[in-house]
Subunit: 666 residues, 2 copies
């Protein structure tokens, strides 16, 4: 150790090293750890501004070569820490960075929970983590009470404290805050906590110290509305829940809801009202689970398809009902939540992710934010299948997006025995290649139908129908078994194939009778051809004929077996180990946008850079569509599948060309 | 004339001179007059962006030496002008600047009504005129309808048109506008008019061309609320009206209203509610007179004393009820009017002028904006007398302000026969220097009481009491007649002086009996001493002992005779020709702020620069107060008065020192 140097005042300098940042510097003896961290740009949290109240700046003493862990290097616990221990627990070895001063050369460990910008670790290994950087933050201030020599206004004295203690300048104050600030200051004995949005707008005020900051991420889908309640300080998802979108009573699918608006001009108002009401109920449910209150919610984010986006915001959705699908607004929106009927904290903000176009929505941008094609060097295909398939293809240098009119077949609609993915629905199908007899599994059970316990296991629901992923597997297995020909025709050859007028059906289940009809197969062919043609069109524009990775987002993407999707040709060839379900990627995007200001800027930039490809006007889309009707279509190759699915010999041979590499234009 | 030059394209250049600006330049033949004006920075109005709809860009052809008025110098009337004449009248000689092109060297006269920044000429000769520069402006745009090759959002296409046609960038759109823009565009066949606030926020949208833009200036006083309806395009005051402040039922004066709030926490809400309701009723009355609608009102300004300011905005006024009088907020406020209960256009904005301190209000800043001490080289004293006197003293380099606790005597309260200034109240008093008999005049009549027609003239109301200006004149005349001594004591000497216990009263009127009691004189002495002491304190701080000009604002200032105010020593010595009533200067300030964006910046700057002098903590205030109790106090001099008032010989002598010049510190 070197001997301490001293400045002219005679106070010795001390060397400080912060870990894990590795930042090092020299401070005067007696400097608090929080102050040293601020001067050296070390990320050490504080809400109370170093007054020993919030406990966010906890640190531990560490050691490093040349700087042993000497007990005398930090000041002993004083009244501030003793007070704090009286109110809250402080783990062994932990100290309050604002209360402890540096007395000797020292190493300071900043645990993850004391960092403002700590990483949020996501559960899926294939997605990026991101640092917490919420747009709304709490700041505690202590002001001088007014006196005859200092009769500045309440707002002025608070603004001054926010500038001096927190470096915030040019702040605007919400009306509500101006109206409440005086009573907060008097109730808090001239201390208060302010919520500041985007370092520019003061949106809430509470007397004294206040530390409850919740955020809410909404994914407003046509069928369900999902909500996630987050602690904006820690980044933890505290509760998640979903509710049926009550707009369903105005029409099952989006287009019928738009038609409803066209017929009844009041329809849009009603649909806006019911969706906002459902969001409020969801908020109440989520905070209720934790014994918290909706007024603790200060920030909200929302994703949704363009029609849900317009209906929730009270915008006329009719232009989205037909070409040219021009939305009313596509930019991201930074709004006051109460103006949109959300009954949260009166100053709560509502951030709505941008749309790309009238048919590529904020949900797609949410999924893109979560899956991050724009953050990658290799080429990612991101597909979200609903009534329309929204497709994003790209990498760091280029992003393309399109919407393809798949229709609702993948959701089990327009299928003779189709139903939503709910208990009792067939979701897995295997056809014996020899006997052509089926085995099934239904949602709610892990047991195959040829196992003994099946009947007992499904006795609650029975077998009720077939869902989207079930019909995909059924058609794919029937094709692989030779029951369906390459052109989609059901051919005879087993007593399970029954004539139905001029066409045939395959009897998948007996009681109740569940058929895969020729028209079911045609519906799936149409849907998958539309999806594939859209993907293909984007690949053409990108100048590639393979992709490196595929992410399947949404409920359909979660249930479908990628191997069968590839057999049927829904998606292009890709290493199956790199085809992932992205789960509720749109909702994940809403969560990320809620926790990270930089993520908002990132996705706004992506939305501006996206090249919108219009499937309706591109003649090549029709060509690809026609070419993609057959199974397997000519572009398809099976090497990736052989390990996963029992392929018949004839089909295996067709994959001889092997997997082609992508060619990029850039 | 020189022969026309021509550029490489072969199109000849033409010389253009605009009058009255005198700007001159050269443009290519065929350029429209509007385009030439824009390029040369000439102030030529247009709402429709040069589409021949609004008629704002009307010009006339003129002549100048070297440029005779040749008929061929402007293009002949084409279909745009013919169309316009079919819809609206166009004066002889007038042409539409957007429709007529320059064909030869030409002089263009721009009439005042075609200038955006034309001067508003105010009726009072002593105040400055100012250019119209409203904060809210209307802009007409024509956009391309959406198509498959251009499916931008409605907002994007409108934002683009506002940028290309009007140079407006980075605009934000009000929620309401986003919600209405689609129906406006479809109803307007892809044209619409936007209201833009401060070149930054789009606050209204109408289908097609829309040209109705009203503004409302409020002066919210303790007793009355005045409203002025303005055409924001022309700057014309279209209607003015006033209504009683319904808060009077919670207390006549401000302090009793604050006490009411302290006793009843709901009281503030109720007072906020009734004042907003009265403002709405006033708005309806004002637009009703013109057959217009409140939804045409897009911008509102408001002045008021600090307590009215706080109550109207829903802020807690209790801190204004006592020292240290710290307001909740003192900065100017740019608000959404609907958030404050004003039922106008939903996007209407509300600009509230700044306060200086808890007892120097937005009304004082309004008066300062109107009277402009800060725009002058010489020293102006601006006094607004109410329950408190708000006093501003300054010039271009320095501005000071204070509030002095005059009490309500000047408003006729605390006076035995006192009443508000309404018909029947004595407002003028003369005492015969020999007989000591009074003559009076009452509000509502021009006849003195010693004239024959007096009784008939006042038969409707009778003589009901004495108002603030009346009691000032009575006390001053009684002093000048020797009935009141220099220390304020009423002395015997006429049968009109009647004993009243240990003191005397002067009987000013017999039926009903109206007395000037000793306690009335004391109340006036206290009030005038407080006023003078406040003025004197500011003069001390400014280092002067005279002022160049005095403006008396408000109702009291309108009624009082400056000569008597000077006799009693309410105001310091000043050339009487430079003592003016400023009328409703606060209201004029609200009007100016409504018409002029730069005026808002100006008064915000003044509010920041004002030196607040605290009368309550300055020992000198007490000294001045005590010294100012007598009549005439020792500082006073009468040369300015001799020409206006019949002074008794003894008093005249006391003015021997003559008028002293001010000494400034700067």
């Amino acid at each position: 150790m070197t001997s301490p140097s001293a400045d002219l005042s005679g106070v010795p300098d001390r060397r400080v090293v912060f870990s894990p940042s590795g930042r090092r510097g020299v401070v005067q003896e007696g400097t608090t750890v929080l102050e040293a961290a601020r001067r050296m740009g070390v990320d050490l949290d504080s809400v109370c501004g170093g007054r020993g109240i919030c406990g966010r700046c906890q640190i531990e003493q560490g050691s490093a070569p040349g700087i042993p862990q000497l007990e005398t290097a930090l000041s002993p616990p004083g009244p501030t820490e003793t007070d704090y221990r009286g109110r809250r627990s402080l783990k062994d070895g932990r100290r309050l960075g604002c209360a402890v001063s540096i007395q000797g050369d020292v190493v300071i460990d900043v645990p993850a929970e004391s960092q403002v910008h700590r990483q949020v670790v996501r559960k899926r290994p294939e997605v990026a983590n991101f640092p917490i950087d919420p747009v709304v933050r709490l700041h505690y201030v202590v002001v001088d009470p007014p006196s005859l020599v200092d009769a500045r206004s309440d707002v002025e004295r608070v603004a001054w404290a926010l500038e001096v203690d927190w470096g915030l300048t040019g702040l605007e104050f919400d009306t509500q805050v101006i109206q409440e600030i005086h009573s907060a200051l008097t109730a808090g004995d001239w201390t208060c906590t302010l919520a500041v949005h985007d370092e520019s707008q003061v949106i809430g005020v509470w007397p004294g110290f206040y530390d409850r900051l919740l955020g809410l991420a909404f994914d407003v889908g046509s069928t369900t509305i999902a909500g996630h309640l987050l602690n904006l300080s820690t980044g933890d998802v505290m509760a998640s829940s979903g509710t049926m979108n009550p707009q369903i009573r105005f029409g099952e699918d989006l287009m019928s809801r738009v038609s409803h608006v066209m017929m009844d001009p009041e329809g849009a108002h009603k649909m806006t009202g019911v969706v906002r009401e459902a969001m409020n109920e969801l908020a109440i449910e989520l905070v209720g689970e934790l014994g918290r209150d909706t007024t603790e919610i200060l920030d909200v984010t929302m994703v949704g398809n363009p029609i849900m986006h317009h209906l929730m915001l009270g915008l006329d959705p009719t232009p989205l009902g037909g070409a040219p699908f021009a939305p009313v607004i596509s930019d991201s929106l930074d709004l006051v939540a109460s103006r949109f009927g959300l009954e949260l904290h009166p100053g709560a903000r509502l951030y709505v992710l941008p749309l790309v176009a009238g048919h590529v929505g904020a949900d797609t941008m949410g999924a893109a934010l979560s899956e991050g094609p724009h953050r990658r060097d290799d080429l990612q295909l991101l597909v979200d299948v609903g009534t329309n398939a929204e497709i994003v293809l790209g990498n760091r240098s280029r992003i393309l997006a399109a919407s393809s009119p798949t229709g609702p077949a993948f959701e089990g609609a327009q299928i003779s025995s189709g139903q939503r993915a709910s208990p009792g629905a067939i979701e897995r199908v295997r056809i014996d290649r020899e006997t052509l007899e089926p085995r099934i599994r239904v949602i709610g059970s892990d047991v195959w139908s040829d196992e003994e316990t099946f009947e007992r296991d499904v006795s609650d629901t029975g077998v009720t129908g077939i869902c989207g992923s079930g019909i995909i597997e059924a058609v794919a297995e029937l094709f692989l078994s030779g029951v369906i020909a390459g052109d989609g025709t059901i051919v005879a050859g087993t007593e399970r194939v029954v004539a139905d007028g001029r066409t045939f059906s395959y009897r998948l289940w007996d009681d109740p009778e569940i058929l895969v009809t020729q028209s079911d197969v045609r519906a799936i062919q149409l849907a998958k051809a539309a999806l594939y043609a859209g993907i293909r069109l984007l690949m053409d524009h990108a100048g590639v004929d393979a992709v490196d990775e595929i992410r399947l987002a949404g409920a359909f993407g979660s249930h479908i077996d990628p191997a069968y999707a590839m057999v049927l040709g829904l998606i292009p060839d890709c290493d199956l180990d790199r085809v992932w379900s992205a789960g509720n990627a749109a909702g994940s995007g809403a969560i990320i946008a809620l926790l990270s200001k930089s993520a908002r800027a990132e996705i706004e930039d992506v939305a501006l850079r996206v090249e919108k490809i219009e499937t309706a006007t591109e003649p090549r889309f029709q060509e690809h569509f026609v070419a993609a009707m057959g199974i397997p279509h000519t572009e398809h190759a099976f090497p990736s599948l052989a390990a996963r699915i029992e392929l018949p010999a004839a089909v295996e041979g067709s994959g001889g060309r092997g997997r082609r590499r992508r060619r990029t234009n850039d």
